[in-house]
Amino acid sequence: MNTALTILADGVAYASWLFIVALGLTLVFGVLKILNVAHGSFYAVGAYAAATFVAWFATWGFAPWLSLIALLLGSVAVAALLAPLTERGLLRVFYGRDEVLLVLVTYALFLVLEDLMKLVWGVNPYFVTAPYGLFGNVQIGGQSYVGYDLALVAVAITCGLGVWWGLNRTRAGKVVLAVIHSAEIAASMGVNVGRVYTFAFMFGIFLAALGGALTAPMISVQPGVSVAVVIVSFAVVIIGGLGSIEGAAIGALIVGMARSLAVHTWPPAELFSIYAAMAVVLIFRPEGLFQRVKARRI
């Protein structure tokens, strides 16, 4: 019983972390039809920005709990500064071109951002562990978990429900949905599609940066943190269906539980379990769990 609880707790905690990042990835694809390879770089920039903001807050003598606000501010800063610059200054030039070209453009952006991060923050590690101890420890199934890890579950649920509510229950969300279904028709109805693209990209990047910022307290922030997360996030959105928020949630849970089960029962299959789950889903649902088959436009 305890083992089952531990597997469940580990799986959900890992899935929550993944979901926050994958949600941004799937949102950007859903609206802009861009498979953003640089998503992991924005995650890393978010981690660095968080490290910088937390350090500033500490220097100014703010209370430790305010470091959580610093994490959030770091993510907002990345989304507000980098996202419009990227979307308007780079991606917009390539809209309407082959989707493969956009993948290559974002890959180039990934490489550029990796070097830019080194120029700005150097290669030495940053430690921002203050927020990690704020929630104490929690006992689950005979195991002691860091409360911060479990708080991420609440953050992930909030992000997921918030995006779902925003898209389905607000006027702005319905405009975004209209653009997702057909940008041309939405434009003909008077929707400023360019602005929708910019804000959707900003929000997607905010989620990537938030994922990085929330991860920063539990790692040493240094070059190379962006690669692992983006690869697993791709598995998540492929399982769930590219562009689907529900899919990202279920995909993250499948990946998290598969990995947790493997580590606890058969550790050599840790990576295999993730991609085996993906392969099984794709055999039965080639478009992913929540992607409807679309008629091809002629």
Partner: protein
């Protein structure tokens, strides 16, 4: 008349030598997860040492300007990008950059890939850092050398330390990265522990991927099957993340953790590093380095330049450059004072020995191509007054105690009961 002619020719030779350069390729991680812990500190170490060489400011016997009067011109290459890329980059260094020698490679996978490429091209290569013993155990090389001990030493020394300190354990958990280094380290420690602690039971055997970053599930797995000892060869960002995530969950209080190569995370982690962790540095490096004039010079040179003390990666870089310097100068002398070929440098380095800041380096294994050296193991203790992690209970092991004899595979040597080991 003949004396005058000889003097004039010597002057010309000296003049040519002074103008000549020795182009040296240096390959290490300048980006990616290994840059912070290994690549950049090693390259930083190379920069200050090569500068000292070029100014003739290194202590004797390393005090000749450059390499035997030749100015050293380094070409730095990023090791990031995988083994296939590294083979191509190595070919570029030899063919396009026309380097005279290459010193490089942290990744065991990279070393296994580039060594055959250098041999095929008949070009001189020093592997300065990577740990897998397979390079010279499974292959024979003429142009390839490794100037640091392989991972067998690290894990045998850990096991011997536990024995010497009377630390008793009957169960072991493992967490090592899922690539050559992690697998080899785990196997060597398992075998050494089985020899020195008969009946020891191996439990959880976790192999997270390199760069995983998230260890919550692995920590739960380690805590679910509590063992008296937990062995790990994690390093760099992975090791830092593991420590940051495991410490609040009391893993370090519930099991004696031993790290085979962890000194490099101490300056960054500071008081986040738990006390009582037993660790090695893959040599007598950093806080465990021996007292000597050469080590004092090197420590000051590095610390003054970078405001932190040198850890294992720069130590291994400097010992490779010191060995290369002496080999080039020896080959040069044998070549009538002219710049030696790669083949001549290889002949000079083969089976040689030299003093390094970490002690004597002897090219004693792999038919004179693989180094052995002394090592040390210690235990962490945070010093609040100095605001740094110190190492206490340091124990040194001489090279012949923790390295296999020439011609014997490390794994066979351990399983055969360390035959030929000299530990006195």
């Amino acid at each position: 008349m003949r004396i005058i002619a000889l003097a004039v020719s010597c002057l010309f030779a000296a003049s040519a030598s002074a103008q000549e350069t020795f182009k040296l390729g240096i390959v290490s991680f300048l980006s990616g997860p290994a840059a912070e812990s290994f690549g950049v500190p090693a390259v930083n170490g190379a920069k200050v040492v090569l500068e000292a060489f070029n100014k003739g400011q290194a202590p004797a016997p390393y005090n000749k300007t450059g390499f035997g009067g030749m100015r050293i011109e380094p070409v730095f290459v990023d090791e990031n990008g995988g083994a296939t890329k590294q083979v191509q980059e190595l070919r570029n260094l030899y063919d396009r950059e026309k380097v005279d020698a290459v010193v490089g490679y942290v990744g065991s996978g990279d070393c296994l890939a580039v060594a055959p490429a250098a041999e095929e091209m008949k070009k001189f290569l020093i592997l300065y850092d990577c740990g897998t013993p397979r390079i010279f155990e499974d292959g024979q090389y003429r142009y390839v050398f490794r100037t640091a001990s392989h991972a067998v030493m690290d894990n045998v020394a850990l096991a011997r330390y536990l024995k010497a300190r009377g630390i008793k354990f009957s169960t072991v958990n493992y967490i090592n990265q899922d690539y050559a280094w992690g697998h080899d380290s785990r196997n060597d420690f398992k075998a050494a522990a089985a020899q020195l602690f008969p009946g020891v039971k191996n439990q959880a055997d976790l192999l997270p991927k390199f760069g995983a970053g998230q260890y919550g599930t692995e920590i739960s797995a380690l805590l679910s099957q509590p063992a008296e000892l937990t062995h790990s060869s994690l390093w760099g960002g992975d090791l830092q993340a593991f420590i940051l995530q495991a410490a609040p969950r009391d893993l370090f209080k519930k099991t004696q953790v031993v790290f085979s190569a962890a000194d490099h995370v101490l300056p960054g982690l500071g008081d986040r590093m738990p006390d009582g962790v037993i660790l090695g540095a893959r040599g007598a490096y950093g806080l465990m380095s021996p007292k000597s004039a050469l080590n004092d010079w090197w420590w000051k040179l590095y610390s003054d330049a970078y405001k932190t003390y040198p850890v294992q990666a720069p130590y291994r870089m400097v010992q490779s450059l010191l060995g290369l310097k002496l080999a080039v100068e020896k080959a040069m002398a044998a070549n009538g004072g002219k710049k030696p070929t790669g083949e001549q440098i290889a002949a000079a380095l083969k089976g040689s020995e030299w003093e390094s800041p970490a002690g004597k380096i002897r090219m004693a294994l792999g038919d004179g191509h693989q180094a052995v050296q002394d090592t040390a193991i210690g235990r962490t203790k945070y010093d609040a007054a100095k605001k740094m992690v110190t190492l206490v209970d340091i124990q040194r092991f001489n090279a012949d105690c923790v390295n296999p004899p020439n011609g014997v595979k490390g794994e066979d040597w351990i399983k055969g009961g360390f035959k030929g080991a000299k530990c006195d």
